[in-house]
Amino acid sequence: MKSVDLVGSAVGNTFRSKTRTILTILAIFVGAFTLTITNGLGTGINRYIDDTVAAMGADDVMTVTKVAENAADDGDGPREYDPDAIAGAQEGPPGTTSVVAPISSADIDELAGIDGVVRAQPVKSVDADYLVHDGGTKYEIGIGGFVAGMQLQLAAGEQPDAAASDFEVVIPDAYLEDLGFADADAAIGEPVTLAVTDAERTQHELEATIVGVSEASLGTSASAVPNDALNDALFDAQSTGLDASELDSYAQATVWFDPASPADEVTALQDRLTDEGYDSTTVAQQLGTFKAVIDGIVLVLNAFAIIALLAASFGIVNTLLMSVQERTREIGLMKAMGMGSGKVFGLFSLEAVFIGFLGSAIGAGLGILAGTGISSALGGALLADLPGLTLIAFDPVSIAVIIAVVMGVAFLAGTIPAIRAARADPVESLRYE
């Protein structure tokens, strides 16, 4: 028998007993549908986290702080006063130090010399007083750092240009209305003024052009993001009047590593930094635990879907065993007519695979429709504060994998009846009184 005819016959046989087949397909449908939705949930949330990671920083940088000398004996009674220590600007998980030592230019050079470090630069953190547009009301605002390679989630405009010498700023969309802009597009190209106060209590105002409007997202606060030129200018203005030693003191530094380096090399670099007395955090680490929790939840949900599929696969075994029983005579006849056992096996296992395909394709198809519907319904209501989050997202590869896995399960379930059919003895099947 030709392969085409084998497939054709298998497909044709699937619908010989319609009710039974449809019920089996329904059982598989439930499993595949659930798997599609849970999987889509994982894809959607993780994709959102990935986007957020990009918005929080480039993937080839880590934030480095210097461990204060008195930080180690954290839990053993009161900490000794250290006039140079800087209260940690960065929140860390429990157990890590929150008091850091200042980083000087000499430390930056030391950092740059560590094996694996491409470049090191101090983080010039700026504390702005207010943001104002066109002589309107002044609003308080935080200043976020921008590193080349970072991808802010923008509602309009573009990323700040790290290389530009003009002052550029990206403002959060929460400020649009209060600053007097009709929408995000209207703000692009408009001037805004940022003010900082220096050590001598003098306020400096700097004017910048809005190049983009950012959307609030997980992990990023509503802060204005300047380009390097503006950040440096703000920092210099803020540092006016400080003596040289105070000037040369930063809370954090940014360290660049080879973006192509694998995870274990990054870990090795972090170990070397620890040996030198520095704490380091990559952007991925900041969200890593969160992602692990999501993955865990999705795994549990997927497990439920797989249990449903297993139950459905017993349905396949049952359906096909019944067909083999009913078609004993036909199988015997086909064998008497010279159909090989391998082909008989193929006929029944293809039938199982086809049932699996129908159930999973319909399940995945409706799963995608339902998931998309749920996402857009929730996106407008419950999750409106998290723009950019598609709760249930689908990627073609994982949908294809789901369908393939279900077809594989169906094949395995089909082997039991298919083997029984393949072993049928034509003489026994054709005997009558």
Binding site: M1, K2, D5, S9, R16, R329, E330, L333, M334, A336, M337, G338, M339, G340, K343, P426, V427, L430, R431, Y432, E433
Partner: protein, 244 residues
Amino acid sequence: MTTPILSARDVRKSYGRGANKFDALKGVSLDIREGESIAIIGKSGSGKSTLMHVLALLDQPTSGTVELAGHDTRSLTGTALNRTRNKTFGFVFQQFFLTANASVLENVMLPLKIAGVGRSERKRRALAALEQLELADKAKNKAVNLSGGQKQRSVIARALVNTPRVIFADEPTGNLDTATGAVVEDILFDLNREHGITLIIVTHDEELAARCDRRVHIRDGLIVDVVEAATATPATATAEERAA
């Protein structure tokens, strides 16, 4: 003398073992000439079907050999055996064994489908076979909707669609009324005479057996009598006709 198309040499077949052992065939030797019609006749349970299954290579004898055109069939296995079954033999059963919900055409095409014949070719040949049995107008009907005689004619069309050398008919008229049975018998003997197809009929019907060239009487797994019909056409003549 030409080589017989099928020859059984001291064929024995036992079922079960130990105390339950039952000898269905107890040493049967029989030569079947190409182009002849032969009846295997005996009471129910005498071993007729068992002998037919062994001759049709559907079942292996417990001991003894079956030769097909002079070749020991024990050497036939796997694909070669399946090809031989498909190309050499056609079957007509008392209980038809048609797939009820498939069309008559689908049923008749089955052996060709198994043989791997292409779609249009097998349709052409199946329609030709149905034409021969005056069933072409029923090609699209479901097998379940046919009368008994039409069913048996479909089965004959299916048996001959792959131009076999031997047709085995196990009680071919057992499920038909006398008139319809007679029509089916005529068709089978026509095929034997005009196309030289060897016909092996298993029956307990003496009248049907009497129409065959030879009658082999079997009782309790042994051949007890072989009767040549007086008017039998010599097998050699049939072979010459075919060669012409």
